[in-house]
Symmetry: C2
Subunit: 409 residues, 2 copies
């Protein structure tokens, strides 16, 4: 189905917030087999909002809106949607009861303007908001739909997942099933080349490649009469994909690399510590962003100065002198020294030149060494990353640290 996404809110036009709702909805709608034709953003203005909804419905079967459903004067999406779809607003008693219960539960007083939120278009299918007070709804006219959701991302995504997605699925006879295959160490263009014949002849399942912050993914999706058929088709294609790029795959279920690594460590009862130079704590920060990671993560040392490398990790002054702080030898002594002080089962280290300064002809910006201690052995990986900025080099370094741990487990 042809679909448009309409974001409502003057704050978007000021550039005060990034429109993550539209990215989320575009991804979700594409996964459901919709053709997203347009994104629109309009401010809190009744005339322009009405024009925009009419315009979107000229070309599309469905328009999804976010924002403008709250209790204040500014919020007018419901009123305008109702008017464009030729319906009238009525007080819905069950919605009012839910609202009253919610205010009672949270011990807040319900102000007069909150009652506005129980008034709905008479033909609306109402969607419960379990993270806020403004309900959403779907409204049909002549076989076309407007679906209105609140603007705060947490409210919107929960409502989409629990109510809007099933509603959209109910409009179609087919079932869509997909898996997102995540890889590391292979670029999007190479990935596409490896899978080109599969992509070219695709009708169902379909294959699509995605690139995001240094990683490439493949989505395998199938649309069939039953879930069983769709699953079988996707898993069959997954086997073919695995034959070609199996070495690069780290998850077939859209997990982050850091999550995969932490799960493996926790499952096997192994502990992890890190010693970082150029990434300066980003590795530890990434790992500890995972809830419950205290079960495996012991400590992280950010040994930025040479003195810190010697004090904290026992890196030898001769090693720093002879090979330099950015060298395979230093990376390995860091990993070894970290094991000595922490006793952790897996010890990862990193040292490199993140730039913009500090590079030379011999050791350019982007040269990074990752060291790894595991099971009595120390190894290293040399990276020669493209100098596309300090942030990127640090990010790629952390991914390589995770990949190196993942490969050894």
């Amino acid at each position: 189905m042809k679909t448009a996404i309409l974001s409502v809110g003057t704050e978007l036009l000021f550039g005060q917030i990034v429109n993550t709702n539209t990215v989320y909805l575009s991804q979700q709608l594409n996964l459901l087999g919709h053709d997203v034709m347009y994104h629109y953003t309009v401010g809190d203005n009744p005339k322009r909002l009405a024009d925009m909804i009419e315009l979107a419905l000229e070309d599309c079967d469905i328009v999804l809106t976010t924002g403008g459903l709250g209790p204040t004067q500014d919020d007018m999406t419901k009123e305008i949607a109702c008017q464009v779809m030729g319906d009238e607003l009525v007080m819905m008693d069950d919605v009012m009861e839910e609202l009253l219960a919610m205010f009672k539960d949270t011990g807040r007083k319900m102000t007069e303007n909150n009652k506005k939120q129980a008034i709905m278009p008479s033909r609306a299918v109402v969607f419960h908001n379990d993270a806020g007070t403004a309900p959403g709804f779907a409204l049909e006219k002549d076989g076309k739909y407007i679906i209105c959701m609140p603007g705060p991302p947490r409210e919107m995504t929960r409502m989409f997942e629990k109510s809007v997605k099933p509603f959209l699925e109910s409009l179609s006879d087919d079932v869509i099933y997909y898996r997102m295959i995540r890889t590391f160490g292979i670029g999007e263009s190479q990935l596409e080349t490896e899978l080109l014949d599969l992509i070219d002849v695709q009708t169902d399942p379909t294959l699509a490649t995605y690139a995001k912050e240094g990683e490439s993914s493949v989505r395998i999706a199938s649309k069939r009469a039953t879930l069983e058929e769709a699953k079988a088709a996707v898993d069959d294609m997954l086997e073919k994909v695995r034959e070609r790029i199996g070495d690069y795959i780290y998850s077939c279920d859209d997990e982050e690399l850091v999550q995969v690594v932490c799960n493996k460590l926790i499952d096997r009862g192994l502990t992890l510590s890190s010693a970082e130079s150029c990434t300066g704590g980003l590795f530890a920060g990434t790992v500890t962003a995972i809830a419950g990671v205290s079960a495996c993560f012991d400590r992280g040392l950010v040994t930025y100065s040479n003195q810190a490398k010697m004090d904290e990790l026992g890196v030898k002054a001769e090693t720093l002198e002879k090979y330099g702080a950015v060298s395979a030898e230093t990376a390995m002594e860091m990993a070894e020294g970290l094991h000595r002080v922490s006793g952790s089962d897996v010890c990862v280290s990193v040292t490199g030149i993140a730039g913009p300064g500090g590079g030379s002809a011999e050791k350019p910006v982007g040269l990074v060494y990752v060291g790894l201690y595991y099971d009595g052995e120390v190894s290293y990986r040399e990276l020669r990353l493209r100098n596309t900025g300090r942030k990127w080099i640090r990010h790629r370094s952390v991914l390589n640290m995770l990949d190196m741990i993942n490969k050894c487990l």
Copy 2:
């Protein structure tokens, strides 16, 4: 002037990338005094692209487009813009020469389809692209303008800064000058309350408040006949703002708190080290994201386990036993111990409960202690952060660590 932003690219409709161009342009255009009326996104489709440009120009004086200027078949923004504005495409010799020179400089071979990039609408004002090959341009018809820029953010932002912004300024007789005042420790609504009377009576300079990731900012802008007049008006208003909220201001020139802190440390020749528990390296990662920070940052210890706190920082077992890992006492022993091992002038520590698990009635999720050693003294700050997620609690903790250092310097 009324302005619309039109993003061109099917990948946006798939949700494969976040539309940061639109956020950047919205901010910049608002700063230049434009009213941004609409955001539109459309795929690589000639009919829909043409319709969208016409629609935008019905209501607006200017439409800025990003994307679809490259050399491939998909790229059609230039052709469609030319057609809608009633112009014809011609080969521009000077643009061709620039292109040839660029390919020669980078040692790349110029393919046939690259020549397409030297063909421009005959009335176009051409904008040089110093980060890529596709030039941008402005094209006028009946007093309305289309301004086309390339899609890659790095190319677009550089072109905007160097060429498009001066072009837009040349369309207006007035000069806009603004300063962005950054604060910490005061919420947006309180900020608005403090400045309400100034905001209410504003004509010029104007005041606007912004909230972003736990910090609030105030923009003071003035539009006058000369830069001197605008500057004087803004600085006069800044004094009034400072009288009311001076204690919260850390920058009057839109610098990040971490940059302000690092600049102060480097200027005074002071060294910094950190010891983190709940933030798990985020503080060190944030500090080391600043280029050149090796001049002040010595080391960061992520002492996640109790054992690590004792081993690395000499926190006493009795302290951990009696007060717990999340306590003022532990935070202060961490900061003190860090000074002992590192000798750094400023030593900051943090311990807290980031959740989702680990909280109790006495010590809920969001309870965080920041410790600070400076100039022979140890102090601490207790935070009781709202439990709006692990990521948020960690982020707020890092900001408080920076703020505490900033206040002591």
